[in-house]
Every structure is written in structure tokens, then in C-alpha cells.
Symmetry: C2
Subunit: 395 residues, 2 copies
Amino acid sequence: MSEYIEHDKNGASVGIVQKRFFTFAHPPERLRLESGAQLGPVTLAYETCGRLSPERDNAVLVLHALSGDSHVAGVYTAEDEKPGWWDFMVGPGKGIDTERCFVICSNVIGGCAGSTGPSSIRPETGRPYGLDFPVVTIGDMVAAQKALIDHLGIRRLLCVVGGSIGGMQVLEWTVRYPERVASAVALATTMRHSALAIAFNEVARQAIMADPHWNRGDYYDGPKPATGLAVARMIGHITYLSDEAMRLKFGRRLQDKSDFSFNFDADFQVESYLRYQGRKFVDRFDANSFLYITKAADYYDLILQHGAGSAVRAFAKARARFLVISFTSDWLYPTYQSREIVKALKKNGRDVSFCEIEADWGHDAFLLPNPRLSALIHGFLERVLREVRTSPDAL
Amino acid sequence: MSEYIEHDKNGASVGIVQKRFFTFAHPPERLRLESGAQLGPVTLAYETCGRLSPERDNAVLVLHALSGDSHVAGVYTAEDEKPGWWDFMVGPGKGIDTERCFVICSNVIGGCAGSTGPSSIRPETGRPYGLDFPVVTIGDMVAAQKALIDHLGIRRLLCVVGGSIGGMQVLEWTVRYPERVASAVALATTMRHSALAIAFNEVARQAIMADPHWNRGDYYDGPKPATGLAVARMIGHITYLSDEAMRLKFGRRLQDKSDFSFNFDADFQVESYLRYQGRKFVDRFDANSFLYITKAADYYDLILQHGAGSAVRAFAKARARFLVISFTSDWLYPTYQSREIVKALKKNGRDVSFCEIEADWGHDAFLLPNPRLSALIHGFLERVLREVRTSPDAL
């Protein structure tokens, strides 16, 4: 969820990518949401890298986390230095090898990076939706992605891959459209938020809603709720790191000072870092989208929705091969929550590999270059590709 | 730090207590602060329970945490149902036995419960200090308490006791005035804040400062920065609990509902709880005091200040007997930080007992009735009292 990504400068890049848009659910054929509300037309921003094989059997759908978008790898122009958020993972010879796979990354509905969300223009009024945008769920996000995959003519995805909220979407794909998914990689994720995770999201939402510029979500014509969103982002950032990550990265080091200021300036580096992350986020993210996506994450409950309270039952329909990965220092979605996924899958006789990766960087670890992580995903995808090609009809 | 205290209804109470005030450092004899600034006159609000022995050898100074005050036990009037914040610990026959000990609890400077702080009237202007109040440190708080102890004619305290930020003050007492402290009980505390603890405090401060009503600290004539302070309090509350505490207390239970609202109301009980705690806090706490006290906690660094980087050296002057207690689920000041204190004390040959108490309630555990905690403190104080009376001059 962090932008604090060290680029894998040595790895080959997918080069220039193009942002694409797919619009569906044109009225009156609107997308029926889990809340009962309807939404349409719906646009998804997406990007692709690599080539779809003639057999259309090598498509990997990458699903992003809260603040991610469809720009997963490569750059927009030859001059643009900012690569996609998972550039170290997606590219020629990388973990998700674009010489072997056709990678699709779609922005979520509710977001603010080209897909329909609260900042989009509402056709009925000609003005941004604001809080009139319906609350969408992880299931709704996945339903929209399914429309995109249909549109691209892909019968079965080689793999769905994602971390954090992207990982929730991965899990949802495997039980909602089991016949459409040959394999799944769920990173640093959970079947449902703990009270702690909900608590952090709620406080972040309250910080946004406390900003008078938020104006009950109706701020697109005036000043943005920038200070509220910045505080929300700071709260998020703490949860993406860990005690150890912060100790290593900042400790008690002072910022450009030999002594305390004895005022309320940022004395410590960790304070400056958080303030900077907060400020930077405001330029690229919509406060309402923050509300909607965190709410979707809090609502998500695979166990209740698909298993009536039983994690084992929840995965009864899943057919995919699974790779589940957690990180030792992730205290937002701790390893025990990944183990619960693995246990439920195993009880269903599913083919599941699990790995807890030793990493100091907390929840953010899946966004940081890690040869072990890349190798795990690479090996898993190669195996699945081989199996799919050996017996294309056996899931 | 939580008000969520279940009262020990069976325990005998100290009965009616009276809030007292002690004012010192009248100009020009002002209190010289660690920043170099001066402050005066300085008032401390304090309360006492029990009787000071003729030998004046049974005084226990209790030091409160961030949101505490001098009202440690008993009630203000016969009709008042709200007992002090540590009523389960302080009273006849309790952990700190008021039939044996004379208990003093003093509000900190920088606070807002009767002691001099940013909401106090500045003599030079006749208006509240606001941000003109000097940044005070844990050392300054302790220096003010020392003036109170002098005023009360107590040569040596039987014990200084406190948790969290109160625990920092305990540690500071033992190295700043070693000859004045026979023993010390440091609960759920640390020699210095980790980057994680600083990060949480900083985000909470940013939430307050983001509230336009904060007005750079000058709000005493108008509306208070209530929404900002509420968000700050919510952030705090998350850190006082733990993943496990929240799971047990709330889980994913919904608030007065059978299904999701699909809007931004509080759906989950944990959301309602946090909103309630935020709202409630605003009535009794000053936003500027929140800034000052958290800053004092972040600045505190026993190792740097008293040991030039060495924890062992920091305790070189300490002479007290120590009881150090941590709680398994406290992730704000985790057990390893208490172990560091114990290790440094042992290397100095100090008499130190350490106990990690199994408790689900996170950092807040020291504020919740716990027979084991009460018994530990009771036993420790009895031993120290016996030793002090056997050989009054041997520390």
C-alpha cells in the first residue's frame, strides 16, 4: 500500500504500457450490487502487459490494494520515470513473467484512477456522485472484473494474484467464479477483517469526515478535505509498517536537527516521513474513494457470506490451485489469518502451498522487492502453466 | 489510559477525597524547565488518601498516565458515583493499602485537571497560555512533583508507582532524586518511545491540528477542536487495546443491526465504541494538553539523557528497589522494553523484581482490576515497608 518502493532497476521492464478503459452495464443493463443498488454505466481502467497466447490460457489478473491502480508495471511514456506499483514483480523474466504470461491489472470500482467511483460524473445529474455513489463490496469489484475478463474473451484465467485488499478479491474470485480461475496467489490477506483492522479504517474515515472541507462528500467544486485525508493516510501508513520496520527505518533519529525543537514541529524522522506521506497522497487520491474502498474491505467476510460462518464451507466451490503467502511482521493481516485460509482449503482437499516469508517490513512487504517472493510466484505460475497445458480441462 | 474500568465494587473504598492544590515557583522564583524556558507560578492539583505515619515513612506517590488526573481513588462526594481512576488498586486492604500507606496522586504539569497547563491563565496576559505554554518534559513533571513532596515534608517516598507515561515518571524519579525514593513500581512502560509509539502520537497530534477550530491552540474563547481531539483519542484507544482484546470485546459484531447499513454509519460495535470514546473524551480533556503530554512522552529518553546512550549508565545513580511489570498483549510498550529496564537495573546490581502478566487487554491492562497485579504490588510494598522500618537508613 506504500509508494515507498525501491525499483528493481536491474530487471527488464515491460516498457511502455497504455491505460485502457472498458465500459459496460450501460443503462438499463446496470450492474446489480450486493447492497441491492444498481450502478451503470461502469467503466474499468485497466492495463495489460505481455501477449495473450492463441489458446488464451496464459492470462494473469493482478488485483491491487487500497491505494493502487491499474498501472502495475512499465511506464506510460519513454520520459516517464514512474513505473507501475509492482514493477519489480511483473516483467520479462520476473516473478510474473510477461514473456510467458499475459498480465491484466484492473482498477477497482469505487476507486479514483479511471474506474467508476464517487468522483465520477453521475449521468443523471451531470455532477460527481459524491456520497450518492452506492457502497460497493469486494464482491462487486470482482463482478466488474469478471465483465472485463469476459470482454477480453478469456474463458479461464491462469491465475488471479493480489495482496491485501487485492488478496480479498483473489479469494472472492475463487469461490464466485471457480470455473474461471486455474490458480490463485493470495498475499498478506485475510478472509475478513479483525476488529483491529476495522478500528484503524474507522478512525481513518473519521479523520476524513472530521475535515470541514469534506462537506458530506460534496467537495468536488471546492477545496478538497486534504488535511483529513492526510491524517487518514498517516494512520494507514503506521499499519502497513511494523514496530521493527520503524525501528530499523527511523528509530528515534531526529530530522535535520541536533536537538529537540521544543515546539510542535516534526522533530523525529518518523514524524516527517508520516507528514510527507500524508501530503503526497492527497495529490493522487480521492477522499471519498478512501471511504468506499476501506468500507468494502471492512464489510468483506468470505466466511459469513460464502460459508454461513464456516471457513471450510466457504471454499467448498473453489477449484483453483492456491499459493498463500504471509509475512512475519505483518500485524494488519497476521500470519494466523493466512493459516486459517490454508486450513480451510486443505479441509476441502484443495492443492495449496503456503509460505510465511521472514520480512521486517510489515504488511507492506509484498510491495517491496524480494527475490524469494518473486521466485515463489514464478515457480508457482510455471507449474500451473505446465499443468494447464498438459491437461487443459483438469482444473 | 481507558475509562473502561470495571470497578471493584466489593473492595472497601477510601471514601470521600478532596482535591487539593499546591502552588509554587511564584515569580521571580520560577520553575526552570529542561527546554531552558521558565514557568511560574506553578500549581499542582493533588489528592491524598490514608494517613502519613509520624515517621513520615509510608508515603506512596502515584503517577498517572496521559488522560489520568489526581483523582486516583474514592469519590468526591457521598453522591458522586465516579471513583478515581485506580480505585481497584488504592484503598483499605487493596494493592496499595491505604491503612498502611499514605497515598499522594498529583496531576502533571501540562495537564488540564487543575495543574498548570496550556489552558491555564497566563499571568502576564490574563488569557490562557495556548501554544505560548512552554513544552514541558517528563523531567519537568517530576521536578514539579518533587516540589510538592518537599512541601508535604516527606524526606523519602516509600514508593513511586505509575503506568505508561506515569511509569516514565517513576523511572525519572529514581535517577533524578535517587535518595528520595525507597522503591519504585514501573508498569507497562518504557525508557523511551519506539518509532511506532512516536508515530501514533504524531498522527493523533496531526488530527488535532487539522481541526480548524484548533486555531493554532488559541480556541479557549470559541468552539473547541472537538472532532480533531475525538479522532486523536480514537487513535489512542486502538493502541491501548490489542488484536486479541478487540477480538474478544467486539469481534465483527454489528451494532443494533442485523445487516450492514451500506452507508458510512457505524456498522460494527468496534466503530461505535471508538466514536463513543472519542466523543466522551472531548468533554473532559483539553486538546492542547493532549499535544503537550504526548510530546513530553515522545521526547522522553532516559537512556540518552541520563546514560549518554547507555541504559546501564542511565540507572547508575538509582538506589531504589524496583518492581517492573509488563503485560503480554501490550503492543504499545511491549514486554521487551520492560526487560531492557530490568537488564539495565540488574547490571547495576539493583534489587529488581520483574513480572510479565498474562493479560488480553493490551496496554490498558494496568488500569483493569487484576488480583494478580494487586497482590504483586501489595506484597512488594509490604516488603519495602518492613525493610525501611527495620533499617531506615539503608536504601
